[in-house]
Every structure is written in C-alpha cells, then in structure tokens.
Symmetry: C2
DNA sequence: GTCGTTGCTGGTAGCGCTGTCAACGTTCCT
DNA sequence: AGGAACGTTGACAGCGCTACCAGCAACGAC
C-alpha cells in the first residue's frame, strides 16, 4: 500500500503550471531556460509562480537531472586569515548565481583532502575549487576523471588539472629577498611555520635567492610544523637570534610571524629597521599600521577567490576561459621595516605626522 | 516514451540489496538505523556495500524523506576573526556526523538575513544556526514557524526562539570597565567600529558602568559604522585624543582596534600603561604577545560554535538539551596594558625574561 | 505544392530512495 | 495452550522534478 504522507503544504511546479495554463514541463523550462518559451507563456508562468510563492525543490531537481548546483570548495584551514579572504571572494562571486557553496576543511592533510574529494565527487558537484597543486596521485586521478570543471587556487604550477589561478610563491619570496638586498641587507634569516607546500615554496625561493647572492647558510633558516601565530613568530625569532646574532634582516613566511618578530625586537630593544629589517608575507591589514610599518608581499586573495568562482561558474555554463591558467601576481609593498640599512639604532620614524601618512597607505582590503 | 539516460555508472541501493540477498528497504534501513537489523543481515549489507563502493544518493534520499541533512548557518561576516573561530567549531562538530553545513553571509544586514532565511527554510534544513538575537519581526516569525531546531549564537538574551548559546556582551563590557577602575583608571574612553548589535551592547555596558561610577561623558565615546581594522583603531583613537587629551584608559570594542590604539600610542610616544591603559575585546592570539601585552576580554568562540552545532545535532536527533539557553561566559584576562596606574611613563616590562613569560600565557587557541 | 527547417510545447517515464503498513516469526506472559 | 507483544522484514507507491522524444504550427526554399 502507498504512503499517506501529509502532502507537505508546499506548492509544486504542477500547481504553477496549472495556474499558468501550461504543461508542467513548460513551467520547468521557464526556470531553467526562459528564452526557450514564447513571451506570452513566459509572463504567464512568471506571474503564476510569483502569485503562489513557488520555490523549486532542489532535491527533486538534482535527482531528476542527475546533477547538483553545488560548488565544492576544499581549503586547508578556516582559521588562517588568508583563506577567509579567498572564501569571501568565492562567496561574493557565487551570490546571485544559482550555485551554492559547499565548504570542507582539509586541515592541511592531503589524505583528508582525498577523502573529502571522494565524498564530494559522489554527489556530482557542478564544479570544484581545490587548494594548491599537491594532491595525492589518487586525488589527482579522481579530479582528472571528474566530469565537472575544476579550479586549483592559491598557486600556479605546471600541469593544471583543469583551470588554475594563483601566483608563484617561489618568485614572490625571491622578490622579497631581492628587495632586502637592494636595501643593503645581506644576512637575511627565514622564519616559517606550518610549512605547508606553499610556505615550502616560499622557503625554496628564499634559498635560491640567497644562493644566487652567495649568502645562503642553513643556519639562517628556522621552521616548525606548528601552526602559525604571532607568539610563535617571537619564539622562532628568538631561536634564530641565538644562532645568528649578527643577522641584519628576517623574511617571515607570513605576516603573523612578522608581527611576532616585531614585538620580540621591541622586547629586546632591537631597532627596526636600524638593526634588523623585517619583511612579511600576504600584506594583511595591520602591516600598514604597525610601528614601524611593516614591509610585506601583497597577494590578491579576495580577487583570487572571486575570480576562481567566476571562472568556475562560467565554465559550468559552457563558457570556458580563453586562458585556463591565470597568474594574479604579487607585489612587494615597501615600508619602513625594511628601509635602507643604516648604522644608528633608533627607529626610523616616530610622531604623529608620519603616522598619518601611514594610515593613508593602501591595504589589501577592498 | 521514457528516457534513455545512460544509467550513470553509479551503483544503487538496489544493487547492494541484491548482492546482500535482502530487499532494498532492508538495505536502506542499514544506512539509517543499523540497530533495527538482525546482526546477520547487518553484516551482509555492510560487506556488500563496501564491496560495491556504494555511496547513497543524497538527492534521492532528500526527495523521498522530505527532509535534508543540511544545517544552515547564517553569520554576518567571513572576514572577522571572531566568526572564523566560531565556524571552525561548527565545522569540527559537524564532521563525522551525517550533516553538512550550508553557510551564508548576511553582511551585517538583517534584511539580507531575512532573505537568506527564506531561502534556507524553503529547502527544509535539518537545523539552523543564526547569529544574534536581533532578527526582523518577519525573520523571527519564520524561525518560530520552522519545524526544525534552531540555535541562536554569539549572545544571550531574553526570549530565545529555540536554543541559545553565547554570553552577555553587556556584562563583559561592564567587567572590563570594572577592571580598569580597580586598577585606578578613571577617565576611560570607548572606541568602537562597525557598531553591530553586539558592539552596541558592549557600548551600553560601558555606559552603564561609567554612569555607575559617576564618570560618564559622551565625549569619551568615539564610534563609527565603518568595518573594523587595526588602522581604524589608530584613527579613532586620534579623534578621541583630540577631544579628551587627559584620558587615562581606552576600552576598545575589539582587539584589532586595541592593536591600532597601541601602535598609535607608540607613534605619539604615549606610554602604555604608564600614561594610558588599553583593554581590548575577544582576546585574539596576538594580545598575549604584543608589547606591552594587551588586556582583553576572553570569549569562548570556538566552544560556542562547537557546542552550538553539537546541541543542534542532538536536538535534530531528538535529544533536546535540558538547558536550552547556555551562557558560556567571558573572562577579563589582565595583562600589562591595564596594570595599575602609576606616574612614571615607561613601559612596565621589557627584555627577554619577561617576553618568555608572556609566551607561556594561555590564549584562546586550542 | 511539397519538403525541410525552425521554434515551441507536451506526454511519458523514470531519477534512487524511503514512509507506511502488513506480515511474519519468535518470545514471553497468563 | 493461547494470545499478546515484540522484533524483523518486505511490498508498494510515491517524493517533485526533468530527459527524451514526438508532435504541431509557421515559414521559407525549391
């Protein structure tokens, strides 16, 4: 015997079709491809839907059409400021589209990523955004086999699965070191935490630049697998300083570490940039406002997320980009903390006049 | 005539049932309520599913059962650190459960919230997490009428829709001001940005505490609707200082503003806490590491998210909490920036010994 | 005048799963 | 021993929507 479900007060497509005096399939088409209807029926269905307050049942649609309108997003962290900017871009781009975002957190584990990927793919997403280029072989095979567009974000590299948008962390680190050398700094330390693949590539860039200058020394590098924090920046810098007291600059793998180094310098009464230059990475908002203002490498995180989602949605709807790999670049934002080496040991700037100038500096926010 | 769809390579429940030698409905029950099966059939279905690599089709399940396994989450911002902690808690709690998180960003607009709520409710979510207690009348009516559990997070107040978890921003602000008074500060300014309802209630708490002490003066309050930032903290403090140069403490509505005030003080060579005490709000990680270390009001954001999601899932599955309203409280973390008023104008601490002690301080991270 | 061609519309038959109820076998109670 | 109570299983009929084709009218080309 059949069910005696309460027919769930909701109005269905059939009701809309009846009120509009068309067949259900015509009404269905109205919601998916209005241009296919004659103008007369289009307006009839439209007003009928509005009158009844019709909302399509997505589960039924997904079941019947064998696809969903879900964009899966795999990111390694929810805490990291960097990803919240990217996410904001993704959500902004998806807003107003028919697609909804399904977010999952890999916690920097490519095994977890593989597991989540399997889960996502089983639900036939409309598209997928994944972080980075270091998937497991199994993940990569699944991505290749997936019949939906895919965007890899955060960095660019050879051999994209489908589309790719990011920048070269290696080149960005090299540019930061080049800037320090231009300013006369020679003995540049590296401080890194978490050491995910992108931080690793920043380290590789640092190493190559230092080697080019004939200044590389393994003892100048301090890293840890521990998640990053301001406090950790101070601690790592303390280690580095114990090893290499005559260092004249530090390149930090991110801005939180840089802030930690700055505070530690203040505690130790090390003048920045007089005795030590500091360069961070990402150009978070506070970098422009610190005392001294902190040099950093600006990355276009919000744009990355927004562009990735826009490209993905376009690809889902059949408009593939001319250029599937997009390098959004970076920019070394030169501030006080890395200004030219000098012999005196007093902070370069203090007082309100300079402060006001700093406040006017552009930041990565939009 | 029927369709000639490619039967989509996927294996279905029916195949699993056939291999296991049971009816489809029995196999179905295995995935929803394994205890209802005899042990023999349970293991047969289990191994059949594993052998075939069966993954349930959620769209079909949602359509047939008239409900989804989606938890809707409405938060006002993706940028704000505070919400990323809450979100992390929510995602952590949902992991391993059958429920998936559907996130939407209201951008601090209750009208946008109402719109999103309508959208969510149409899809019959399993549960809903909404931020705050200041919904529109229409939103509130929809929430009351929704036939799913609902948790309001971030603050507690009278008249919960269903469940509620948070703390009193009003009391927290009062406690911060009380702490400043205990330390001998009297002329306490207030710096606030964004001025969402929770910040507004912090301001209300500040005002009431100042009035209790007979020290309230409207000129001590500087606020703006602009989104918060470190830079903005410095700018607002500059305004405040121009009005009230003899202020001896500042209570900042959040930690970013507090950091901005600290940097501005450094620029102006105002000693903290010698000439000015600073108290922030939220106790972000960097507060323990700044120089001087910054006093703040610790709030349990991660726990809030995690507990909210856990309570919600329990309620969805019929285990309603004994206590539907949960106050997670707060704690004033007293640090150097608000230590007792003194006449000299040098920072209270400098040097590595003190720094190490600071690093060991507990923080809100887990 | 006939034959495509194009544009629009509708009928049919599911998509893969689960709610409801009935039916069965077993155990326990009186 | 009879019956109630319980635990376990299966049949059936959809959930609300869309893919696939067929059909029809209008139009132009030959």
């Amino acid at each position: 015997m059949g069910r005696k479900r309460t027919k769930s007060g909701k109005i269905r497509l059939a009701e809309v079709a009846e009120l509009a005096g068309v067949s259900p399939i015509t009404a269905s088409r109205f919601f998916r491809n209005p241009e296919a209807l004659s103008v007369a029926k289009r307006t009839r269905v439209e007003s009928a839907a509005k009158e009844l307050g019709y909302v399509p049942n997505l589960a039924a649609r997904a079941l019947a059409s064998q696809r969903t309108e879900v964009i899966g997003v795999l990111i390694p962290s929810l805490t990291n400021n960097v990803f919240s900017d990217v996410l904001r871009g993704i959500y902004d781009a998806s807003e107003g589209s028919r697609y909804s975002i399904q977010l999952s957190n890999t916690r920097y584990s490519i095994l977890q990523e593989e597991k989540l990927l399997r889960l996502f793919l089983a639900q036939k997403p409309a598209g997928l955004i994944v972080t980075g280029i270091d998937q497991t072989a199994e993940s990569r095979a699944m991505l290749q086999a997936a019949d939906c567009p895919i965007v890899q974000i955060m960095e660019i590299g050879p051999d994209p699965v489908d589309m790719m948008i990011g920048f070269s962390h290696y080149d960005a680190a090299r540019a930061a070191i080049a800037h320090l050398f231009e300013q006369g700094h020679r003995k540049v330390g590296f401080v890194g935490a978490r050491m995910d693949p992108r931080v690793q590539r920043r380290l590789d860039g640092y190493i190559s630049a230092m080697k080019d200058a004939g200044s590389f020394d393994q003892r100048l590098v301090v890293t840890t697998a521990t998640p990053t924090s301001v406090t950790l920046g101070g601690a790592l810098f303390t280690d580095l300083l114990a090893r290499e007291p005559d260092m004249d600059a530090v390149f930090c793998a991110n801005d939180d570490l840089a802030l930690g180094v700055l505070f530690e310098c203040r505690r130790r009464e090390i003048a920045v940039p007089g005795q030590l230059a500091i360069v961070g990475f990402n150009d978070l908002e506070f970098m422009a406002s610190a005392v001294p203002t902190l040099t950093s490498v600006r990355t276009n995180r919000y744009e990355m997320g927004k562009t990735a989602a826009t490209m993905l949605i376009n690809a889902i709807e059949g408009r593939r980009p001319e250029q599937p790999v997009l390098d959004l670049g970076f920019k070394v934002i030169e501030r006080q903390s890395s200004s030219a080496r000098r012999s005196d040991s007093r902070p370069a700037v203090s007082g309100a006049a300079a402060a006001n100038k700093m406040i006017a500096l552009p930041s990565s926010h939009d």
